[in-house]
Symmetry: C2
Subunit: 191 residues, 2 copies
């Protein structure tokens, strides 16, 4: 069972989370992930190790939380004027970010310290939110749009599967082809 | 870096692997995964803990190896007389196995103790082999067939992605729909 609270904490709790997350990011940048320990993170964050154990359970759950924060998109997808252009641009960026060494490490961390699947679900929710922005914009333009779950299956899933299980042919042309197939063959169908 | 040898070992090495794997499976069945430790596994397998550390590095890498063995298909896909029937049946079984509690635990174990991605790649290779059997049989019948990578993207990837990241709507109808889309829209195209 996870020890993480269901809601985003406020007040002191939020300050502890922010300082612990920052300590993890700083120590990773300085010394690499292999050198991380809960006592080191606690010392850097100015909290006791037991604060970390109580809140996160162990180092892996803490790293999972930090990874999900790093995978949170910072801006909405850019508007390039059409569904095809928007989705192609977004898929290319998504692939670049996720397939980068840092992205792969975050995906891995997010999955590993996540016994109840909440953090993995959050990663998927981030992608769905971004796709929904693209689809809503296209609908406002009067374009036919696929369902978000279809874009998840046709674009997000193959990219993430290949990154984790089958790391071949993951390039920009691949992302473009996935988008073309989703929009070309089923773009306007209900599902 | 993994300490696993590149080739399947023979002789004493193979016997050690078999007895250690069996000890892991037995102890998991008896006491659950949480109770597993390297000394416990070593005692049950009749080897020293240092044999395990030398060969597998740590418990997580050992569990990853055991998981991949458990995910190895035992029989080729059944012949139901047509590509659609064969692929639909295979996808349904694949989904059932992977989405079961045991399957999820094995997928998770396979990914976690797998720093170089070799075990994840083996999981994907197993799926590709099974699909290749289905496709070769269809080609022998004179049916038009998609490329194996297209079936990976269209059927295997969405199933695995949803199991890991988005555990909603993973049922037999979902597997059937994925197969219908892969065969329907692109079944005979080159790719």
């Amino acid at each position: 069972m996870s020890r993480k609270p269901m809601v985003r904490p406020g007040g002191r709790s939020a300050r502890v989370q922010e300082s612990v997350h920052r300590a993890v990011r700083d120590l990773m940048a300085e010394s690499g992930r292999e050198a991380l320990t809960v006592p080191l993170v606690a010392a850097r964050a100015g909290v006791t190790p037991s604060t970390i154990y109580r809140r996160w359970g162990d180092l892996q759950e803490l790293l999972s939380d930090v990874a999900v924060e790093r995978l949170r998109p910072e801006t909405p997808p850019e508007d390039h004027g059409s569904l095809t252009a928007d989705l192609t641009a977004w898929a290319g960026l998504f692939l670049d970010e996720m397939a980068s060494p840092a992205g792969r490490a975050y995906i891995r961390d997010a999955l590993l310290g996540d016994p109840d699947g909440r953090n993995a679900g959050q990663c998927s929710a981030y992608a769905a939110e971004q796709i929904n922005v693209v689809l809503a914009r296209a609908a406002d333009r009067g374009e036919a749009t696929p369902k978000v779950e279809m874009v998840i299956d046709g674009v997000v899933a193959p990219i993430m599967y290949r990154i984790l299980f089958r790391p071949i042919g993951i390039d920009d042309a691949y992302a473009r082809r996935l988008v073309t197939e989703v929009l070309g063959s089923n773009g306007s169908e209900d599902r």
